[in-house]
Symmetry: C2
DNA sequence: CCCTCTTTGTTAAATAATCACACTTTAAAT
DNA sequence: ATTTAAAGTGTGATTATTTAACAAAGAGGG
């Protein structure tokens, strides 16, 4: 019981690199904070993790990252995004060709994705760097102007990338959604890029954490009927779920 | 004085592996605890240390534990590369438009570059991420297939990026140089990319640390006469320096 | 079934880190 | 050289995290 839990903690930590105690508590609701603390203490003694203020980080993580800051802001709704990423990761099959956007959720997805032989196109450079650690994944970065807020690129020229490319799958996320305005984002060119991706992709999977619902951003790039599967978290409202299912969209 | 103190802290930390804030206070009685905290914070952002409760520990220390891959490539001639990067950073002026390659030296350069209004094109995603921290720099990433060993992209399609683009400057580095074979690298498509860059760039500055001299890599992308300035370190052999200066190339 | 050892939970106290503000030094511009 | 702006620093109050001590609950052996 203890041993197993500790192993599991070590495993999760290796995958995510860094976790707060709060996140661990959610992951292990059966035990108290103090117990988790003691587990972390033991793992530290074994030299497998390093305890930092507020949580812990995996030693492996430290060993691989070079210039990147470990302190990078703990983003909003992290937990929901990880849940979504884990679901999405199960959808990636051997040999597939897929497009992944550059958002935070895609970032988590790229950590969860198995190291299988497949082709991934992305416009997110943080996503690309994360994926670069998987030996078997073939990565193509869509170039263009870099937006500093979300570390993703886009450019009108990117079109040329897609002319002779087809995707089995596009897994993207939006920063806002309402039934009337559909899926929207903050950048005109990113919106254009996604529209193009949608045309080339055979299936479109949308990752949408529930905090995005009811918000509207300037540029709509898709409507309900444009997607095939919606991947979301447990707080997703039932009435919205019904709405999607009416349009034959799988909600998971 | 801040810079020096931070360097000193990093040095001590590298040496001792781990220190408490209290120890640091004794080491630096001239400044307050808060200042030291802020220094540690900055070092953490730079990825050189990890802050732990009560103090900090050096990343190198952690890496040593089961030290592997990371230390391999990044450590080769680091000091020379930083010197070169610092020299190169002085060459970037306000409003300029420049191309930067994706190599390790470019990575250091992007840390040193001042945060001024300018346009930088690069095919290195680690470089792009580093540059993203500067508010005023406009970054464009050249897309393409990602090479996992050096985190840079290239693709035949990248050509389209350059059709309507001009660079004042291209600052690149080679992985090998001999007078006969010129500047060479390990990848065919990267070599192609650089050739294109050279055509569009008004001036070409080559960063070459002395460890590259006398080596030959498969793909030559430039010869002595193709560059305008050579930026190198103090170990650069005199006879080579003379060689470059014969061709009216500034060696700095 | 009882005893004992390990694991776990609960609290209060100690410790460390953050924040916000004011002050000081350094650098830049004219 | 003088003024202005920017970067760096110190202080005290505030907030958050960790530790430590002790009590309760399980698990296994005799």
């Amino acid at each position: 019981m203890k041993r197993e839990r500790i192993e599991e903690i070590a495993e999760i930590l290796d995958k995510r690199g860094k976790m707060t105690l709060e996140q661990l508590e959610k992951e292990f609701p059966a035990v108290s904070q103090m117990t988790l603390r003691r587990d972390l203490y033991q793992l530290e003694e074994d030299g497998r993790i390093i305890r930092i203020r507020g949580g812990a980080m995996s030693v492996k993580e430290v060993q691989k990252v070079s210039g990147e800051a470990y302190t990078k802001k703990t983003t909003i709704n992290t937990d929901a995004k990880i849940v979504i990423a884990q679901k999405a990761a199960t959808l990636v099959d051997e040999g597939i060709s897929l497009f992944l956007d550059g958002g935070t959720t895609a970032m988590y997805l790229s950590k969860e994705i198995p190291d299988i032989n497949c082709n991934i196109f992305t416009n997110g450079i943080a996503v690309a760097m994360e994926l670069a650690q998987k030996k078997n994944i073939n990565i193509t970065v869509v170039g263009g102007q870099l937006m500093k807020d979300n570390l993703s690129t886009s450019s009108p020229v990117a079109k040329s990338y897609f002319e002779s490319t087809n995707f089995e799958l596009a897994i993207v996320s939006a920063t806002a959604f309402t039934p009337e305005n559909g899926f929207s984002c903050n950048s005109q060119i990113e919106s254009d890029l996604l529209k193009q991706v949608f045309q080339k992709a055979r299936h479109v999977y949308m990752m949408l954490d529930s905090s995005k619902i009811g918000k509207i951003n300037p540029y709509t790039f898709a409507h309900i009927e444009d997607i095939d599967v919606l991947i979301t978290d447990d707080n997703f409202p039932k009435e919205y779920k019904a709405l999607f299912e009416q349009s034959n969209i799988v909600v998971m």
